[in-house]
Symmetry: C2
Subunit: 184 residues, 2 copies
């Protein structure tokens, strides 16, 4: 952020009075520009003992497999956002069963949420951001070609829970230290 979105003046990056961390501050109109983590909402769409994955047509991780998910929009509930992304990325008709996984990724200030969602029919097909949509049994999941750690974790939880048909909500943190060891 370089300019104030309220008045157009250049902003400075400093700790405002009474605060305890640096913010982008406009010294012209006194607006403090807070930055907040973003939510990515998605579904784990399933049919019997199979899950629906989408092969990404876009960066990042183009060509890798993912669960349908994307940034929550203004005015949406988290479940509405999850279903919208499922429709946009896989043209899939699904019904939310319940919240399943919730991940904090503090290194990129993102919060991921996945809902278990039962497919209403099998008429899914790739959306604009998807090359291929396909149902996978556990033994067929391309574990080495999954797009993100949150996808791997959610699928691991799911296939672990599937035999007992008990799906407790998991709240996990994915901590990645961005500092690299200079000796390696």
């Amino acid at each position: 952020m370089k300019y104030c979105n309220q008045c157009g003046a250049p902003v400075t990056h400093r700790v405002p009075d009474g605060d305890n961390r640096p913010r982008y501050v406009c010294d012209s109109c006194d607006t403090i520009h807070y930055q907040n983590p973003r939510i990515i909402a998605g579904c784990l769409p399933f049919h019997e003992d199979q899950v629906l994955l989408c092969k990404r047509s876009i960066a990042p991780r183009q060509g890798c497999w993912t669960l349908p998910a994307g940034f929550l929009e203004f005015g949406e509930t988290t479940a509405q956002g999850a279903l919208r992304e499922t429709e946009e990325e896989a043209n899939a008709n699904a019904e939310i069963i319940g919240l399943y996984t919730l991940f904090s990724l503090p290194h990129i200030s993102q919060i991921y949420m996945f809902y278990r969602a039962q497919l209403i029919d099998l008429d899914f097909y790739p959306g604009q951001e998807t090359l291929e949509t396909k149902l996978f049994h556990e033994s067929e999941v391309p574990w080495q070609e999954l797009a993100f750690p949150v996808i791997t974790e959610t699928l691991k939880f799911y296939f672990n829970d599937l035999p007992e048909e008990d799906y407790p909500i998991r709240n996990e943190d994915i901590i990645i230290n961005r500092k690299r060891d200079p000796m390696k």
Copy 2:
């Protein structure tokens, strides 16, 4: 938003090419400014069968009772944000037990999350945004003076679950239609 925070030029509000909803767009540097819901993280701090509430010293709902909660910051996990707010608003030392309630409030594009948190000691005292901090048994809760519906809902769930000591995670939507009936 009136100006682009990247180049300082005025923004327009329109549907970008390939998108399906209006965004603030900079026609000078082609930046699209997405707006995303914000997360409020908080704790339900408890000691035996009592819960810790904070009387708000600031707007909105000044003088009403709340659970300690606030906007999640960049670089935080949701549990870290919940504990930070508990320390800031109540100077309370607490330990996260687990996620408890998660609410979507689409009319204000906010997502609330509360964690059950056990008080480590009773040395809490009001922070800057708090007039008073106090433990309440169920019969003592000032139900008519609670600050927000998410507080009322979380406390109702809690005192309902307390006898069985089973605390399933609740994911709820709070839908408030902002359009008022002009006849009322």
